[in-house]
Structures are given as structure tokens and as C-alpha cells.
Amino acid sequence: MTLSHYNRRDFLRELGIGAAALPFLAGLPSLRAANSSNTAALSRKRLVIMFSPNGTLPKELWPNQFGADIPLEIKSILRPLDPYREQMLLLKGVNNKIRGDGDGHMRGMSCLLTATELNPGNIQGGSDTPAGWASGLSIDQQIRNFFQSRKETRTRFGSLEFGVAVPNRADPWTRMCYAGDDKPIAPLDNPGQMFQKLYGGAQDRESIAGILDYVREDLRRATRKLSSEDRALLEEHMQLVRKLEQDIEAARNQNELTHPEPEVDPDIELVNDNTPAISRMQIDLLVNALANDMTRVASLQYMRSVGQARMRWLDVQEGHHSLSHEPDKNLKAYEKLKRINLWFAGELAYLVKRLADTPEPGRVGGNMLDHTQIIWVNELGKGNSHTLSNIPFVLIGGGAGFKTNRALDFKGVPHNRLWLSLAHAMGDEKLQSFGTEKFSVDGPLDLS
């Protein structure tokens, strides 16, 4: 086995499993942050999709008036996002029209980004026929593949799937990203693991650097008692240790990040009550990964469809999904759902603020939000009606170049057309159809 073969295989393996993914020693220029002076950086476009479950409260979200020329009105749930009103676009009347196998939640979740039917399968929902995984890839992966297919937009990871409090189970209610038919992608909801995936190499390097002095001392001690023939072996060993030390030093300089990695408590327990802290860590990691151009596509999935998170940090003791079933007139439940949705909006606002506060690499005066398209999605329009119509699509940022500071009501178009608009806006203009073909025939929505 040659060394180069070993390195390559080892490296690819690391990319795959995420341990020590940043090359431990040698800098690999093609996969490092693109030089900020090149042209690709100037036209950089990014996509972040954030998901929260169990429907919204329409009255707390939708403005009273829709229209191309009417400035956006911010209702209660969206209040944390008020500072970014001018970069926001609200879309009503965009429906998930996918039918077939699976219950509403399953299709709501697994057809949300794929816009195509579920395969028949063996997972029984609360109603309808059992179903399996979605039968096509999701829009984030479509755009990821498009970016990865071009040298100037290719990044080390292509896409990153973040999760927050996603239960450890794999079924159509827990997966929204798909690499293709029958190929769900699991979000990574452990910030420690995500950190390891992003910065593991650097971390390992520092760990090793920390012990080399001791190793040298050990070697010196062991060498003393050896015959001269045997000593040669340990002297060679000592040279290898010195070489490693030099290599680490060189790698440190070479791999310096545009944005140093955020501090993450690697041992944070993945329990419900830590969700707010985990959420912030994941957002910090996400923003950093974008800033270092490790990826240009990311998703951030909170819990799952039918999620029963108990948000005690909001003084809500009941499970989220049960609450979402309560009729509107249950004012207590209504108020709690408002609190829950406000919290999600607050997390989104934190993400938006982090991006807005981070200068766009290579652009004087610009910030990253100007070049990032955020889309906040939900699998349902409304919790207690389980409708897949009027899903709240909240778009923020300038990545797609859509016209913002307004709310539009499309009165019931398939959401396939929204994803088609998004793909075109991100540069994938040749895409004719996305997801179920019959829902794409009218082409992309006009959002410019």
C-alpha cells in the first residue's frame, strides 16, 4: 500500500464518518475555505433551511394584508425577527399537495422538502395507509448537488444537516432531507459530534501536540539502557516524533480558519432540558461552518413532526404535539403554542443576527445575511387541522435575491413551484421540474 493511497482512503473515510474530518496534518487546499479574493467568493450564495414542527398559529403569523407593494406587517410570533423585516418575505397559499401513502404528518415532514410521494412501506401513522421513505431527493440536496458539481461553488461538506432535540429514531416523521429515493439523511443533533466533524482534525492535532513532550521524555528514558544497535531504532523513533511536532506546527499555520471555531461543550448531555443551550451551539457551529466556507447548504431541524418536546424552559409542561391538537378556543393551550412558536422565532432571530453580524468574506461592507437564503418551514399549516395547506414559509436574507419586505398569498399553488424558484435563484436554472412532475408544470413562482 502506498502512502498516498493510505492518506486518500483515510481521508475519505474521515469525511464519511466525520471523525477528525479536517485533515489532521496536510492542508488540502481544494477543500479549504476558498480564497476570499477569488471571484467565486463575490457571488457566493448560501441556503439554510430551518424546521420546526406541529404547525403554526395562523392568526399570530399571517399579516392582514398581502401584496407586492405592501410593506410587511410583523405579527406576534415573528416579533423577534422584526429588526430584519426588510429582508423578509412571507409566502402564504403555498401548499404541500403531495398525496398517497402515509398520514398527514408523515407526508408533511418527508414530502416537505422532497415534494414527491412516499414509497409504500411498513410504517403505520395515526391514519391512512402505512408508508416508507420519500421517493426523491430534497431541495437542499438538489442545490447541494448543483453546488458540488461546479468547481467554483464546491465546498468540503457540500451540505450540513444540523438537528436539535431530534429523537433517536429513523422514520418518515423524523427525516426531511433526502439524498434520493429511499435515502433519508439523518440530522446530527449532537454539537460535540458536529464539532468533531467540522474541527476534529484541529482538535486532535492540539491533543497530540500536548503530549509530545512527554513522549520524548519517555523515549529518552527508554533509550538509555539500550545496546547501541537497539538504540538506533529508538533514535529513529525520536526523529519521527520531532517530525510530527514540526508537521503539527506547519499544519497549524496552514489551516488557520478565517473564523476560529466556536466554543462548544463537547460533553453536553442530549436531554430535553438542555435544548436551548444545544440550539445555540448548533447555530454557532452552523454560522461558523458557513463563514469558513465548509458548506453553503445547511439545514437545522428542531425536533420532529409529531414531536412531543416538553419545553419546560418556557414553563410549558405538556408535549408540543398534544398541545397543537387543542382547539383554538383552548386559550391556555393557544397561549402556550404561541410561546413555543415565539421561541422558535427567537432561535431563528439568533441565527439571522449571527449572520447579519458576520462580515461577508471578500465583500467590504456586506454581511453574510445578504448572501444567505434562510427559509423557515413547518410540516403543517395549522396544528389542530393537520392541514398541509398554507404552510408558513418564512424567507429571510438575500441569498436567493427575492424581493423582500412583503407578504404574498399565492392562493393554493403546489410547493413544488417554490422549490423550483429557489433552485433557479441559487443558480440551478436548468431545472425544469422538481418532485412530482404534475405539480411543477406551471414553473417557478415569481418572487423577484
Binding site: D10, G121, N168, A170, D218
Partner: protein
């Protein structure tokens, strides 16, 4: 295949390095018959060498062999030494030297030069006097040793596997879960919606994972619309390498392999049933069509891994599941009871980091050299091990997850970890560093453990197997480590450590009794299995054959044959007799049904081997002994796996077979061919037999120097075709397998069959010593002569006294290699 290339390549990987002398080679690995032992010939009084020997040597030999027999580059670069007597040397020189004109040094001249080189540098005594004898070299862990040591180090802290859960009814006396059997423990459930394991209806042992329920259900008690099955047990990995799995099903499955076996199990539901554990294959969600799920995993040979397979059907029309796997050197086959057991197992951490191959220039793996790739691999492996340990820290260090004050527990853990890794008590400095310095420097106790693990696994005290002991290390610890590396390729277990700690590895009896205990361990079996892979050259063989000529001989056949051979070796070695001679003499093969079709004993007695034998015997279910005519088959020599390995894709290869028999079985050294000669089938007359072709090809005198004894051995197996089937005709002519073979001592032997060769080898001391030496190399990874000039003779003598019991030999070698002084004395009493 080219003759030269084949041999050159073999030269690199041979079990025996070729130290050649005067065409024939005499070395530790190629010993002479006992009557010619060097020891016998050592005179008691100093010898006055006559000058003429020296001058003859200078004139006729030194050009190629160097002034002091050290060898000359590009001529003959191996040093001259060995254990032949002066008489034997004389005969050899007379017959064969100088290479280009053997008649130039005969008679008294040959005797004088033999006497000269014997006393100057050839004999063991001469070499000892001159300080030329091999010494014990500083060695690092070999790659298998590294992987085993890390696995056992972490395994040491892993709690033993809990009993497999499952509601055990105390009144159920027939509960199968208590007995350990081959296969997997299967439980069949009626499902009810989300509750997949709603009601247990059938519990049994499944030997194959290959079921097609069609539109029905596994048992009448279960309805066909929804049911689930779980299979539990463990997987036995015999070899180290990548294992591939694929599961075909249209339903839902999860495969857990090498998960933490906590004995705890969640309910079987759509959400995972082994809480918090990642499935190797998660195919729980079906898609209404037949699917193939695959995964690949690197496993360490000699370990059992916990395995759980879950299956469920929910309203799909049909149900089926087939789990196949592919072992290293194996073909895809249904996962079955040969490699599974209902016994529970604990997780074993496997270092997957690729390492550069160990040096094999002397014919056996050893840790004599380091390189940047190796160093970098040890770094990566240390990092991976640290991740494993930190992830499982509460379990390994033995505290509950909610424990708040872990510092002292973790200090204790680190000290125990280091002690095991270094195979000795820590020095005061080390203790201070691991207990205090690291913990005070690190941000938190976990970080200190991480550093400690990295440091320990990068320390020379872990990485080198035989550093000089620190002043305060009791010798018992040194001995414990030597035993465990020799027998297990790993670190000592708790029993050995306890013995060392209590000073119970001091006397020869104590050491021997530990060695005996250690024999009965899967690690020893694995180590011996690898020995046989070396000895029989089973590694990296291409056994593919001409598909038109041998349509039945496919990957599965090769895989089955390899299994059959390994099973034979295992059964022979681990029987009570453990008789080396049976390896060569046995008259049976272990065959399964499909192998029996190909290699039927009745075929061999028939003139028309193609016709199906008519037999009343019931079909055999599994690998069972099938007896052959003793004149035809003889132990491993005629095992079809070896016969096909040493053959061309379309015919036998007497040269490959002959070279193998000469070196590995007869213990006779061979030098590389003096000139490149390729075997080109098309250059021979079309009606030639293979024997005629080889005879013609090697007729040159320089070739015949070696082929005079390679060919007769190879020709003796000419009754076996390219896949090891019996034949009586080759190229439409009767096979002639009879030749005269000149033994090393100059006797003429008629050989006509494998049995003739086997009979000769089992009673021949050269052959015994070759086996002993090769075993020593494999176990100790040093030259046996570094442990005393007579070590091989002593071991061979004992081997013979013990009726060639392989297990005794192995344990004797391990004991000898501890370097225990008393042991040496005991052994030297039996000096030849």
C-alpha cells in the same frame, strides 16, 4: 505464470529465508539430519586449522561468499552459516561447488575447505566465538499485536456480556436461552400495531438466516399481516479484516453488530430497540419492494462480537429475509451457524486504522523497523482509541453516568490502564505524572483521561515489546508479557498479572503451568491459525481457474475449501494428540455436500471420474470427514486448496508444488533460480504431459542443481489436476508420478505419491526442525538461536519425545522465549 517471477516473489514472502551455501542452503531453517548436527562435531580441544583450507577458500570460494563467509553483493549475498557437520559440508562441496565447475573442488580439498569454514564462521560455536550469533532484537508491536493489545486493553475494562434478555420463566425448564449453541437465538412475535413484539409465539435456534415466508407467517399461531422476529447471539470472526454484510428483504430490519451489550433492551418498536446504539444497518422503514442493504465492518480475528438482527412485517404483501456475508478470503454466503452462536458477547473495540505491513524479509512478520507511516498510524489509532474510551468512560471506569465526582475514579482508571498497557507496575515518576500532572494540567478529568490514553498509547513502554525492564520491575512481569506476546500476540490477562504480582512466575514449573493454561484461549487459536496460513502459504493466493475447464470450481468452492482446510488444521491441532504427523498423514478430507460432488473418493477409484458416483450414503449436511484411499491422499499435502493454490489456472504446476514441499515440508532451503526461465505452455510439443514439459524446461545443469530434488516432489503430485482432483491421465497420456529423490543426506528415495513424501517427512529430523523453527519464528518473532545455540535441537528433541504434540511444542517455545534461566537449564539438560 513465470517460473522466475513466481520464485522471486516467493523469495520475499517465504517462511524460510534463503541462506544459500554452495547451491544448497544450510541455515537455521534448513537444518541437517541429527547425525550431522553441529553439536556432535564440535571437538573438545581447539582445532589447529591447516592453512590449505584457508587458501583454497580464498582462491575458490571467497569471490562469491566473501572473505569471512559474509556474502558478496550481486554474487551470493547471504552469510554462510548453519548446522551441518564437516562431513556433510564436505560432501556438499564435493558435489556442487564451485557452482560453475563442481569438479574443481573435490576429495581432500573439499574436506579441507569444509573444515576451514566450519571452524572459522560456519558453525554455531564459531559464530558464538566471533559474536556473530543472532541476538534478541528490540521489537515494536507488530500490527496484529498492536490491534490485539488495544482491543484487550479496552476489553479488560469492559464488563462481561450480560445474559441475553428475554423473559426467562423460572418454571420453563426447557428454556433454550440457557444453553449455548451454534446459530442465533430466534424469537418470533405476533405484532400489534406499534407493539412489534406483542406476543412471543416461538422461540428456537436458527442456524441460517434465510427465510421466505411468502404471503404466510412463520408459524400458525402468528397471523401473516404483522409479525416480527429477533435473532440474538454473537458472531465469530476468525480472521482480521473487512467483513461485508448484505440483507435482502422487502420488510423492515435492523442489524446491530458489536454494540455495547448492556443486557438492557428496549421494547421492539419503530423507534430503536437498543436505546442509544447505532445500528450497523438500519432498514427499518420498508419501501414496498425488495431491497438490499449493505454494510462493511472491520473486525479483529479471534473475537466474538455481539449481534442482533431485528425483522418485522407490517401489512406488506409478502415477507422474507436473507442475510449474507463475505468474510476475508471468503465468498458471499448465507450467514450461518458456523460463525454464529447464541452465546452473548461484549463489544470489542477494533483499531481500524490502516498500518503499513510488518517486515517479512526473513520469512516471518516481526516488528524490527519503524517508519513515518507506522508512526502516523499509531497516532491515528491512539486518537481513535481515545474517542472510544471517552465515549464509554462511565462504563469502562465503572461509575454511573450521573456521578459528579469522577476525578479520583478516573485517576484510578488511568493508572490501571497504564499498568496494563506497559505490562508492569508504573515507576514512581510515571505514577506521579499520570495521577497528578495530567489531571492538574487538564481542563477537566475527561480531558486528562484523553491525554493519558494518547500518551500511554504513544509511549515506547506500550509500543515496544521488549524494552529493558525498569529497575523496580519484578522479573515476573517481564515473563508474563513474554508469554502473552508469544502465545496470544497480546498483553497479559488478569490471571497472568495476578501471578506476576504475587511472584508466581518465578519457577520453571510456574511458568510452564501458565503457558499450559494460556493454550486454551481463542487468542492462541488465532495465533496458530495465522501460523498455518504462513506455513502453508495461504495468504493472498489467487486460486481462480479456467472457467471452461473447471466450471464447478467457483468462488464458493474456493471459500469452502479454505474453510475445510482450516477446519482440518483446527481439529488436528486442538485434538488431544495434536499430532504434527497427522497434518501430513491423515487419510480424510472434511467436505460438505458440494465439495463432495467435486472431490468424491469414488471418483478417484473410477476410470471415468466425470460420471456421478452411485452411493447409498445419505447426503452430508455439513463439513464431515470423508475417507480417501491412503495411497492417494495424505493430509494437507493433498488438500485440494493447497493443490489448487500451487497450480496453474489450467493445469498442475509441479514446480510450485515441488518448491513448497521442498522448503516448507522437507525443510530444505532453496536459493533463487540462477537464471530466469519462463514457463510458456505454447513452446512445448502439443502432446507433452506436464511432467515432460517441466523436465524439458529444467534440464539445464544449473537448473537441475535444485530441480533435481524439486521436480521429484512435484511430480509425485501429478495425479492431481489444477483444482486438486485425482487424475490418471494428463494430456491423454497416463500420469507418471514416480521419481528418485535424493535426500539431503544423499540417500535415494523412490517417491510416487504424496504419501511417500509424508511418510518420509514425519520421520525426518530436517523436516521436524523446519517445522519447529518456523513455529518459533511465528510465535517469538526472533531467531531461535538468539535463545541459545541449541534451542532448535532441544525443542525438536522434546517435540519428538512428546509424540510431536503441536500444543506442547507451542508451549515449550513460549516458555523458552521467556528467557527464564532455569528454563534454559532444564532444556539444556536435554541437549543433543
Amino acid at each position: 505464470m513465470h517460473y522466475t517471477n513466481a520464485n522471486k516473489q516467493r523469495g520475499k514472502t517465504q517462511l524460510i529465508r534463503l541462506f544459500s551455501f554452495l547451491m544448497l542452503i544450510l541455515l537455521w531453517a534448513a537444518p541437517a539430519p541429527a547425525s550431522l548436527l553441529a553439536a556432535d562435531a564440535i571437538p573438545e580441544t581447539p582445532v589447529v586449522l591447516n592453512d590449505s583450507g584457508a587458501s583454497i577458500y580464498k582462491e575458490k570460494c571467497a569471490n562469491c561468499h566473501g572473505s569471512d563467509g559474509q556474502g558478496v553483493d550481486a554474487e551470493y549475498d547471504e552469510p554462510l552459516f548453519g548446522d551441518r557437520s564437516i562431513k556433510a559440508l564436505t560432501r556438499l562441496i564435493r558435489r556442487t561447488m564451485p557452482e560453475d565447475e563442481p569438479e574443481n573442488c573435490v576429495g581432500e580439498e573439499a574436506h579441507q575447505v569444509a573444515e576451514y569454514i566450519f571452524h572459522e564462521f560456519y558453525s554455531i560455536k564459531a559464530r558464538m566465538k566471533k559474536g556473530l550469533n543472532p541476538r534478541i532484537e528490540l521489537s515494536r508491536l507488530t500490527v496484529p499485536q498492536y490491534r490485539n493489545a488495544v482491543a484487550d486493553l479496552i476489553g479488560h475494562f469492559t464488563p462481561p456480556a450480560g445474559k441475553l434478555s428475554g423473559k426467562k420463566k423460572s418454571d420453563d425448564k426447557t428454556a433454550s436461552s440457557d444453553s449455548i449453541e451454534a446459530g442465533l437465538q430466534a424469537r418470533y412475535f405476533q405484532s400489534k400495531g406499534m407493539s412489534k413484539a406483542n406476543k412471543l409465539h416461538l422461540e428456537r435456534n436458527d442456524r441460517y438466516i434465510d427465510f421466505d415466508f411468502g404471503e404466510g407467517s412463520p408459524t400458525e399461531a402468528i397471523t401473516a399481516d404483522q409479525f416480527s422476529i429477533t435473532w440474538d447471539g454473537s458472531l465469530k470472526a476468525e480472521e482480521t479484516g473487512y467483513y461485508e454484510f448484505r440483507i435482502h428483504t422487502q420488510n423492515g430490519i435492523r442489524l446491530y453488530l458489536n454494540s455495547e451489550n448492556t443486557g438492557k433492551r428496549g421494547k421492539l418498536r419503530d423507534d430503536s430497540s437498543l436505546a442509544g446504539q447505532a445500528a450497523l444497518i438500519d432498514g427499518w422503514v420498508s419501501s414496498g419492494k425488495m431491497r438490499k442493504h449493505s454494510a462493511r465492518v472491520f473486525l479483529l480475528g479471534g473475537h466474538r462480537y455481539p449481534l442482533r438482527l431485528e425483522f418485522f412485517k407490517y401489512k406488506e404483501k409478502t415477507a422474507s429475509i436473507k442475510m449474507e456475508w463475505k468474510r476475508p478470503h471468503g465468498a458471499w454466503s448465507v450467514f450461518d451457524h458456523h460463525f454464529s452462536s447464541t452465546a452473548p458477547a461484549s463489544r470489542t473495540f477494533v483499531v481500524e486504522t490502516p498500518f503499513p505491513a510488518d517486515d517479512r524479509s526473513l520469512g516471518y512478520e516481526r516488528g524490527n523497523a519503524i517508519s513515518q507511516e507506522w508512526h502516523s498510524a499509531t497516532t491515528h489509532a491512539a486518537l481513535a482509541s481515545a474517542v472510544e474510551i471517552i465515549n464509554r468512560l462511565p462504563l469502562l471506569a465503572g461509575y454511573r453516568k450521573d456521578t459528579t465526582e469522577t476525578k479520583d475514579l478516573l485517576k484510578d482508571f488511568v493508572i490501571r490502564f497504564a499498568t496494563l498497557a506497559f505490562r508492569r507496575p508504573l515507576t514512581r515518576d510515571e505514577d506521579q505524572m499520570y495521577r497528578e500532572s495530567l489531571f492538574s494540567k487538564a481542563a477537566n478529568p475527561e480531558a486528562a483521561v484523553r491525554w493519558a490514553v494518547l500518551l500511554i498509547l504513544k509511549s515506547p513502554s506500550f509500543l515496544y515489546t521488549n524494552l529493558p525492564a525498569t529497575e523496580d520491575t519484578p522479573n515476573d512481569f517481564v515473563i508474563a508479557a513474554k508469554l502473552s506476546f508469544a502465545l496470544w500476540d497480546s498483553i497479559p490477562d488478569q490471571t497472568l498479572i495476578n501471578a506476576a504480582r504475587n511472584g508466581k512466575l518465578t519457577t520453571s514449573e510456574q511458568i510452564t503451568s501458565q503457558a499450559h493454561r494460556m493454550m486454551n484461549n481463542p487468542r492462541t487459536r488465532t495465533k496458530l491459525q495465522r501460523f498455518f496460513n504462513h506455513w502453508l502459504e495461504l495468504e493472498e493466493r489467487d486460486l481462480a481457474k479456467d472457467k471452461d475447464m473447471f466450471p464447478e470450481y467457483d468462488e464458493t468452492t474456493i471459500s469452502d475449501l479454505r474453510y475445510s482446510l482450516n477446519l482440518f488444521l483446527e481439529q488436528t491441532v486442538w485434538s488431544e494428540e495434536s499430532d504434527y504427523r497427522q497434518l501430513l498423514l491423515a487419510d480424510h478430507l472434511l467436505l460438505n455436500e458440494s465439495l463432495l460432488d467435486l472431490y468424491h473418493p469414488d471418483d478417484e477409484n473410477s476410470e471415468h471420474p466425470k460420471s456421478k458416483p452411485e452411493s447409498d450414503a445419505p447426503p452430508i449436511a455439513d463439513f464431515e470427514p470423508v475417507v480417501f484411499s491412503p495411497e492417494r491422499r495424505a493430509g494437507v499435502l493433498t488438500h485440494p486448496y493447497l493443490l489448487s493454490a500451487f497450480a496453474y489456472h489450467n493445469n498442475s504446476s509441479p514446480i510450485h508444488r515441488g518448491v513448497f514441499l521442498t522448503r516448507n515440508i522437507m525443510g530444505r532451503g532453496l536459493r533463487p533460480p540462477p537464471k530466469a526461465v519462463a514457463f510458456k505452455n505454447e513452446e512445448f510439443a502439443p502432446d507433452f504431459t506436464m511432467r515432460e514439459k517441466i523436465t524439458k524446461l529444467t534440464r539445464d545443469t544449473t537448473c537441475m542443481a535444485c530441480h533435481s530434488f524439486i521436480n521429484p516432489l512435484g511430480f509425485a503430485l501429478e495425479n492431481f489436476d489444477a483444482v486438486g482432483r485425482w487424475r490418471t491421465r494428463d494430456n491423454n497420456k497416463p500420469v507418471n508420478s514416480l521419481s528418485e529423490y535424493i535426500t539431503e543426506s544423499g540417500d535415494t528415495l523412490e517417491v510416487q505419491s504424496a504419501r511417500d513424501i509424508a511418510d518420509f517427512a514425519v520421520s525426518n529430523e530436517s523436516a521436524h526442525k523446519a517445522f519447529v523453527t518456523q513455529m518459533f519464528h511465528h510465535l517469538v518473532m526472533q531467531s531461535p538461536y538468539a535463545y541459545g545455540p541449541y534451542s532448535v535441537d532441544q525443542l525438536r528433541k522434546k517435540f519428538a519425545e512428546n509424540n510431536f504434540n503441536i500444543q506442547s511444542l507451542v508451549s515449550d517455545i513460549a516458555v523458552l522465549a521467556t528467557g527464564h534461566r532455569q528454563t534454559e537449564l532444564t532444556l539444556s539438560e536435554s541437549k543433543p
